[in-house]
Symmetry: C2
Subunit: 189 residues, 2 copies
């Protein structure tokens, strides 16, 4: 399976109206704080790898952030692209019970935090796609439309994503291929 | 708190009788498979560090090994000794949900498995100490007597451990300070 996604900068207030009109189904909402690490033995920026610790908190039913115990920590490794066209890469992810112990281990081994991407994420289901409204600290508001597809369906899936974006009043031509991490690091440099 | 422990080679059948006679309380039993990793950026054998992935399975009530779902995976980092006398070291440990994803991450980052120590472990409580009967694959049977102590109680705790060992018919003078990993690697070289 391949991930097909288009991401654009967009004011969420405008998009929310369109989502309501189109009767998009509300999925989970919550916050994510993603810390990316540099390795002691090679330059991840050059090797196109990433090591990430994600602290995730889902909203409880009443729309407020759930309590501290409900925070989930995940360790994720992303390898270099093995196929440029389809954006396929090796990826390994696991939930970790004690985030502080994981971070202390990474630090003791010489891995250093490069940057943390913090965002509030709301997700909706629409026409077989997931529409994500991301509010990223220091970067602003983004909308992502994505789905999974088999290799032979990629073109069709991309056309569908374009149609969903347009139905929300957004312009697919303004699509951004840069990750939030890269956008943050570009701003800082 | 400090760990005070004495470990000796001993035939378990003899010790079991003594434990029963002394009415030691049975604690948990199970199996552990500990894989130790080498780092890509420095020699852990030289820096006196260790990175370990432990797969642990507790026995169910009927004395048989519990099902596969009950396996727990832990990631542990042990730093160099900060105090030779008291054997104090930095240690970080967390439960990890997906052991295969963790191992794939370590492997992708260039960490390589050095050796795996597999053992069956039975634990008993006696006179405020934990008595552990370890059957280690390729190494044989060992008995460990241990407790935790404040710094000023270390000598007293050690004397108590000696007394417990002797009450089980074992000789504290045969104490082994070498870890199972080192014993395995010594045998292999």
């Amino acid at each position: 399976m391949y991930e097909v996604e288009i991401k654009v900068r967009a004011d969420h207030d405008d998009v929310r109206g369109a989502l309501e009109e189109r009767e998009a189904g509300a999925l989970n909402t919550g916050t994510q704080a993603d810390t990316y690490y540099d390795a002691p033995m090679r330059e991840f920026a050059e090797t196109d790898e990433a090591l990430r610790v994600r602290h995730e908190r889902a909203d409880s039913g009443d729309g407020r952030s759930s309590n501290r115990d409900a925070e989930t920590t995940k360790l994720t490794y992303k390898g270099p692209l093995v196929d440029e066209r389809s954006k396929t890469r090796e990826e390994h992810e696991t939930v970790v019970e004690d985030g502080a112990a994981l971070e202390a281990t990474l630090s003791a081994l010489g891995f250093e935090p490069v940057a943390t991407v913090e965002k509030r994420r709301e997700r909706f289901a629409l026409d077989g796609y997931t529409v994500t409204l991301d509010t990223v600290t220091d970067l602003g508001e983004f909308v992502e439309v994505e789905t999974e597809a088999e290799e032979e369906e990629i073109d069709e899936a991309r056309e569908g994503a374009v149609a969903v974006l347009e139905s929300l009043g957004l312009d697919p031509a303004t699509g951004i291929r840069t990750s939030y991490l890269e956008l943050l690091l570009d701003d800082a440099s």
